[in-house]
Amino acid sequence: MCQVGEDYGAPAPEMPPPPRAGRELKCVKCKEDLPVVVIRAGDAFCRDCFKAFYVHKFRAVLGKNRLIFPGEKVLLAWSGGPSSSSMIWQVLEGLSRDSAKRLRFVPGIVYVDEGAACGQSPGDRARTLAEMKLILQTVGFPWHIVALEEVFSLPPSVLRYLAQEPSGTKGAYKAAVDSFLQQQHAPAEGEEQLSQPGSQDPQSPAGPPTAAQTEAQPPTAAQTEAQPPTAAQTETQPPTAAQTEAQPPTAAQTEAQPPTAAQTEALSRLFDSVKTLTAKEELLQTLRTHLILHVARTHGYSKVMTGDSCTRLAIKLMTSLALGRGAFLAWDTGFSDERHGDVVVVRPMREHTLKEVAFYNRLFAVPSVFTPAIDTKAPEKSSIHRLMEAFMLRLQAQFPSTVSTVYRTSEKLVKAPRHGSAGGPPGPRCLLCMCALDIDTAATQRVVVHQALRPCTEGPRPGTQVQLCSHREDPRAHVIEQLCYGCRVNMKDLPSLDPLPPYILTEAQFRSQRASVLQEMQEYLIDSDDEAQTGES
């Protein structure tokens, strides 16, 4: 580790006394070929061993956690960037392998067009979309393209936690896999039409899943939504990529109408009104999450996969600490995130570093599209995210185990329920990030409501006046009190809540109304404990 007298001025340390990993050395795994890439600190892999290592990590992360059941619909969140593109490619290849080791879920892809928030011109956005569509057609999964402007038409229900029955114990997973395999071996005559006479070339969209094709599909196609679509593939099928996976895209290719100019302007206004880049990035992330959640719920996806890499998650962990989200680290950086209830967010790329991703994409020609983001070319000190990123990467350059150490720490974080809520009804959740609130709002809420009630006692019945008063008083306070600490800090940089999309304000109003009515009724409710003690009714 630290050696007295060693000069740390150079960006990367010299290899320790064992011979430098030079071209003269062989790959550490197969010991035959010349190495092309150095992973971690000093492990040189050749091209084929690197590919095996990379793919194995992806499958191992999914297999270890056993969260994705066979036949389940999984939405892949794609930003066009290298990590998510790599994830999609892994899923593509994983679904096309021979049946023993094949991935077994039903994928779809969602792409969120954030051009308006990043200040892109309509021409640039159209160009980017065209590039995206080209890749989406090559991949062949059902895809959904949504513009960020659609947050203005989201329903308030997107902010609600929908409880989901727990998927069961390990026994349930094994049983599900076994029954899936049994189904596969039974003759599946109804699904022969699924197997396209696949060309060997995975790149050519020989079966472009356009809308026209769905009409041409025989009616039994509809039932395959629930059925494992790959059941038709027998062992004799050559493992080609997209063609054998052409499930009937039953109206799943969705691209809503291009956003209206008014919506785009509303979105620009929202982002312009945010004072700091940190708050902008957090807001963008929140809105994007809600949008993807909405797409998942609408189309029946029960899991969402995001392409967060090891490096990104390590940076995110440190950034979250700085932003006051320490209570939610386990959900923000863990493998699975069940804060929404029915839709679980999963991070299969969390063991791949950005370097591995970049190398893999380059060596194996994974297509990705570069789109400028909200913090492109921003100077280093412009936001907490940038600062933390620069800090981590610079530290990593000198101490190559930095990222993996932070990552290992994140693996140890445990999701503990808040005291008192274990086994009982779920506690209140943050309005924006939907994590269980880490601030005790009951006390603060009562104070605010009572203050609002006082001037209204002249009216006939204080109860009816409550909602009018509380909103005349301070609508902003009613939104703020429903946020967790981290989200409150972000809201400080948003001077006015008006530009926020309506679903947030509606849901905030609904919740505070409910809370104040409940508060009012408390005095009239017969508490069963009191009755037992005092005998009053």
């Binding site: 150079a10 960006p11 030079g22 998510s84 991703v357 970049a358």
Partner: protein, 101 residues
């Protein structure tokens, strides 16, 4: 005395934004006393190719942390990093990993 070298310099992952959006550059490095290595190549790039914001690409005498360098599709760590001596017709690729996702 090193002869002039013809080298292909490529940028990816968003780094091309600093070079007017142009990804591939075929460059001819002039002949000079010392042989060309990556260190001197970076100086040359900064002077001749980099259009804006040098601090986003170069830090000190090396690349900014987060930018990968591939020489002929191999990791530069295997070849000596800054001290690798360029040959004619080499291909140097700079990939920025900072635009993740």
């Amino acid at each position: 005395m090193a002869a002039p070298l013809s080298v292909e310099v490529e940028f990816g992952g968003g780094a091309e934004l600093l070079f007017d959006g142009v990804k591939k550059h075929q460059v001819t490095l002039p002949g000079q006393e010392e042989p060309w290595d990556i260190r001197s190549l970076l100086v040359w790039i900064k002077k001749n190719l980099l259009k804006e914001r040098p601090e986003l690409f170069i830090q000190g005498d090396s690349v900014r942390p987060g930018i990968l360098v591939l020489i002929n599709d191999a990791d530069w760590e295997l070849l000596g990093e800054l001290d690798y001596q360029l040959q004619d017709q080499d291909s140097v690729l700079f990939i920025s990993t900072l635009h993740g996702g």
